[in-house]
Amino acid sequence: METEKNARPEMKRREFLGKITRTASLGIIAGASAVLVARSAGARTLWQIDPEKCAHCTNCSTQCVLAESAVKCMHRFDTCGYCKPCFGYFDLSGSADGTGAENQTCPNGALRRRFIEDPYYEYSVDDGLCVGCGKCVKGCRDFGNGSLMLQVSQDLCQHCNVCSIAVSCPADAFVRVTPDNPYPALKGMK
């Protein structure tokens, strides 16, 4: 056995070098991981929109990598004014009168209007029709209570490492939130 070892010195050297490299590499990986875990390991964060920063630019409906955008309009009933002439529902810049589709801000008719009592109407969003263009959000924010807001729908969102909408957002309104509170704006928290 000793002659075999002496006859193949290169193999033994290579094995030795391999062992050293493996041990060193494992040490570096373990060390770096420990540093990362100690310094910054947080829960997985999700993409979300901060409605305070949102510029209502319609990018949310066009920039998502999915064919149907993961951004939807969501409505906070507790801050809504239930106004008869809702500034988010009606496009008041038009010259026509009435509640027809030509006067609605929503191009897909995703905003529903329901009479409660005079003069209050309940407004709700039909998720199936909403594309996340933000036209109703603009009206509500500019002239109303800001109870309509564009939010990332966490069951549709693919949680891409680099969000295409976030990259194109002119107002830099995309933030990372924790999974235990994925819609802080809907609860009135920042």
């Binding site: 990362l36 910054s40 964060t45 999700l46």
Partner: protein, 289 residues
């Protein structure tokens, strides 16, 4: 005392301003919420729930299982059919089901940014996604690339007839992944933590297959790589993948790796041209006894 009164006045001013500012932050209420007489109760805003944290555990467990199986199939069973089947599974699970995200290749950016110390928080699942394939590479070679990585699995499955890339072209192109790795680390580490610049993810050619959607320029890139993969073995893995560059460094020191059994080999040298990634070298002069 004068100072005391000034402090109190200043504090009151600050508190009032803070309240006024706070109302502004909490949302503009131009129209106060109505008092309903008909007994209508505003409904709770319904919203889809966030991602369960247990899914992260499942992701890492799946990665670990796939890596173990790949190592077993490649090193101990030496089963080509097994590898192809596992590649199919990886395409379906890590690719189409998880949409290819978060993957160890993209995790280069996350880890670089986290190590840069700018306050970016990195989930443990992403650290493990990055580290586990490296650990397996140290012991078994690039088994992650073999059948676990969805990008590699797609290339593996569409390869029809590999052509041999001439050695000099191969040698030149093999340098590119290291440059890409350096660029990926730099771009990620120097970017703003709130909107990180992960170029590996942004220009990933295969993720548009898994999402079945993408920006026009990325779809073109996907088509180019897919067509190349029909005839060239693993073009992305060999000539572009930054994680592959990283693994290739560690793989040189791997404890076990696919090898030719010297006692059975008759030096016919057919394996050199058959290998789709040109990984088999000419026999050494020493071996020819």
């Amino acid at each position: 005392m004068r100072n005391g009164r000034k402090t109190i006045l200043l504090s009151l001013l600050v508190i009032t301003a803070a309240f006024a500012f706070r109302t502004e932050l909490a949302g503009i209420e131009r129209f106060p919420p109505p008092d309903f007489e008909s007994g209508y109760v505003p409904p709770e805003t319904a919203y889809p729930p966030g991602r369960s944290p247990w899914l992260d555990v499942a992701d890492v467990a799946a990665l670990l299982a796939a890596l173990t199986l790949a190592a077993y199939l490649a090193i101990f069973r030496r089963s080509r059919r097994g590898i192809v089947l596992l590649a199919l599974f990886s395409t379906v699970y890590f690719g189409f089901f998880k949409k290819g995200c978060v993957c160890p290749v993209g995790a280069i950016g996350n880890v670089s940014l986290a190590l840069a110390g700018t306050g970016y928080t990195i989930p443990l699942a992403v650290i493990l996604s990055f580290a586990l394939p490296i650990v397996f590479t140290l012991f078994f070679g690039r088994v992650f690339c073999a059948a676990v990585c969805p990008l590699g699995a797609v290339q593996e499955l569409v390869l029809v007839r590999p052509i041999v890339v001439p050695r000099w072209i191969d040698a030149g192109l093999r340098v590119i992944p290291f440059f890409y790795l350096g660029l990926a680390v730099l771009f990620a580490a120097l970017s703003d933590p709130t909107s990180p610049n992960f170029i590996v993810c942004k220009y990933d050619p295969f993720v548009s297959i898994f999402r079945l959607a993408g920006l026009p320029q990325i779809v073109v890139l996907t088509a180019v790589f897919l067509m190349a993969s029909l005839l060239i073995g693993r073009p992305y893995c060999r000539f572009l993948c930054p994680y592959g560059a990283l693994l290739s460094i560690f793989a040189r020191a791997s404890k076990r790796h696919p090898s030719v059994t010297p006692t059975d080999c008759v030096k016919c040298r057919l394996c050199e041209t058959a290998c789709p990634v040109n990984a088999i070298e000419k026999p050494n002069a020493e071996d020819e006894e």
